[in-house]
Amino acid sequence: MISPQQAGVLIMLIGIYGLMAKREPIKLVLSINVVSLGLVLFFIGLAYSPEKDVPIMPTDPVDPLPATLMLTTLVVDVAITSLALAIILRMRRDGS
């Protein structure tokens, strides 16, 4: 079995392959999203420890920080994707 971190890195590499091999702007945006998903999986994998407690009123808590960081990254991700799609629409309209 591979660990979640390794799976995350693999998914990031698949996204980077997409960035190098695909020409359609939409596919490039999708590839970037794949990279970010791999990143999220990597971080979640860092803090994955099933035998530990939830981080509310803890005795032996898991590390909550990676998950929190990824929440922030996801927010950045959503905003960027919408911006990229808007730019693609404008690119079409300009005929460039």
Partner: protein, 499 residues
């Protein structure tokens, strides 16, 4: 209350959007914009030291601070941004509905840069650098020029890829040390292969965002197509955020000798590649954009020789003169940016400012460029010093070319603020140099003389007339190539870091 430096511009960016939705008077929007720009300067002048936001403990909290190393970054950004703000209100002039949005985006950019420069931990730095970059993508795409959307898209994809890899590296650092705070990482880092790899990945990502050769592919397009005030901020301040990130990175995880030597070689390559690229350009703003690649090489040279103060002062110097050059050349070349079709022949005040700024970027004393170059070369060994001197002559050759073409053409009407902004920045480079104690040197005159000779030699040999490859039509193909270069470069860095 250092976090207020970020909070004020953020607050007023939202206020502008609300005022715009409520169809408020233009003066209100302008006032909100100027308040958001100026208030951080007030905080900067009154506050010093380090603090942790909200008073949490250091391991969990967000540490911010103003120190000897980041103060020049902040000072340069604040001076440049204040001038750009005054320039951009008449520039955008409420011609269309985009104006309030552009102003709000400029404030977000300001907030992002302030946040990145005061950050004391890696993740916080990433978030604010990202706020600045995202505003920059949108501002580039706002330009009416043809090809602006393509440039913005290219910039967006590459910059984002670099950001994700940077966060990935932060993840590895967190996994190995258990901290995100720069100082705590520095105290707790044990040398390991994982940390070396993380250093390499994070460093390569920041190099892409700083636009250093060979990862500069997105920079000339984005910086030259953007509206003039935005170009000034992009070249003057936005590329400094990753440069500051490199300083944070190197102070947390000191690089090994081989890696540092390699980076210094890369920095020198960037200096000369930027100059060569600039010499071949026909478009004035593209010429200046290539000089950003070259000047970032100096900042990198300072960082790689662990001379962080030198790098910081060079970054500040570059903010002032490159911002001034973009504003003045952009104002002169409103109709055409092609060299030889416009100039300052009928605008003596502009001629004076552009000449001063050209001398400043060339590193002629007593301007601030020479002071900053002095600190950088004081931290370098024998042969590297020669690279700095050769870079000075090269930069002066390229600016002789710019001034030669500018002195032949004429320009249309200039608004008072356009003349004033260039003059203020030109005087700022001079005053800052005098204040910091740069002294006139006789050797500088010989550099200028050599540069003029080389320029005319090149001109008569016909090298400067060569046509360079135009931009490719297909944005997807461009991104493919640039990502491939980036990945190859990163593999190279990892190979250096492997043993």
């Amino acid at each position: 209350m250092i976090p207020l430096m970020v909070a004020f511009p953020l607050l007023f960016a939202f206020v502008i959007v609300i005022l715009d939705t409520l169809r408020a008077k233009r003066t209100l929007i302008k006032a909100a914009f100027l308040l958001g720009v100026v208030l951080p300067a007030w905080v900067f002048l009154t506050e010093r030291g380090r603090e942790i936001v909200g008073g949490w403990n250091r391991a969990a909290g967000i540490e911010v601070g103003i120190s000897e190393i980041n103060a020049p970054f902040i000072a340069g950004e604040l001076i440049l941004f204040t001038v750009v703000a005054l320039y951009s209100i008449p520039y955008f002039d409420f011609r269309n509905k985009k104006t309030p949005k552009s102003l709000a985006l400029l404030l977000l950019l300001h907030a992002g840069l302030m946040g990145a420069f005061i950050a004391g931990d890696f993740f916080n730095f990433y978030i604010y650098m990202e706020i600045a970059s995202v505003s920059a993508f949108a501002l580039v795409a706002f330009s009416d020029e043809k090809g602006s959307k393509r440039a913005a898209f290219k910039y967006l994809i590459l910059s984002l890829l670099a950001s994700y890899l940077f966060v990935f590296a932060i993840g590895i650092i967190y996994m190995e040390t258990g901290y995100l705070n720069v100082e705590l990482v520095a105290e707790n880092a044990l040398p390991s292969r994982e940390l070396q790899a993380a250093l390499g990945i994070a460093f390569a990502s920041l190099l892409l965002k700083a636009g250093v050769f060979p990862l500069h592919g997105w920079l000339p397009d984005a910086h030259s197509i953007a509206p003039t005030p935005v170009s000034a901020v992009l070249s003057g301040a936005v590329v400094k955020a990753p440069a500051y990130g490199m300083i944070l990175l190197f102070s947390a995880l000191p690089p090994r000798e081989t890696f540092r030597e390699a980076v210094m070689g890369l920095a020198v390559a960037s200096v000369f590649f930027g100059i060569a690229g600039a010499l071949l350009q026909k478009d004035a703003k593209r010429l200046l954009a290539y000089h950003t690649v070259s000047q970032m090489g100096y900042v990198l040279l300072g960082t790689a020789s662990m001379n962080f103060v030198g790098a910081a002062y060079y970054a500040m110097a570059h903010s002032l003169f490159k911002g001034g050059l973009f504003l003045s050349v952009g104002s002169l070349g409103k109709k055409s940016r092609k060299l030889g079709e416009f100039g300052y022949r009928n605008a003596p005040l502009m001629a004076f400012s552009v000449l001063m700024l050209s001398l400043a970027i060339g590193g002629v004393s007593p301007f601030i460029g020479s002071y900053a170059k002095g600190i950088i070369s004081s931290g370098l060994g024998g042969t590297w010093k020669w690279a700095v001197t050769a870079g000075t002559v090269g930069t002066l050759v390229s600016f002789t070319k710019l001034n030669y073409h500018l002195s032949k053409g004429e320009t249309g009407d200039l608004a008072p603020i356009e003349k004033l902004s260039a003059l203020v920045l030109a005087l700022a480079t001079l005053c800052a140099g005098l204040y910091l104690g740069a002294e006139p040197k006789l050797s500088d005159a010989s550099y200028i003389f050599a540069a003029v000779l080389v320029f005319f030699a090149l001109k008569f040999s016909g090298v400067l007339e060569r046509e360079v490859r135009g931009e490719a039509k297909d944005v997807g193909k461009d991104v493919n190539v640039l990502v491939a270069v980036f990945v190859t470069f990163m593999l190279g860095v990892l190979l250096i870091q492997w043993p």
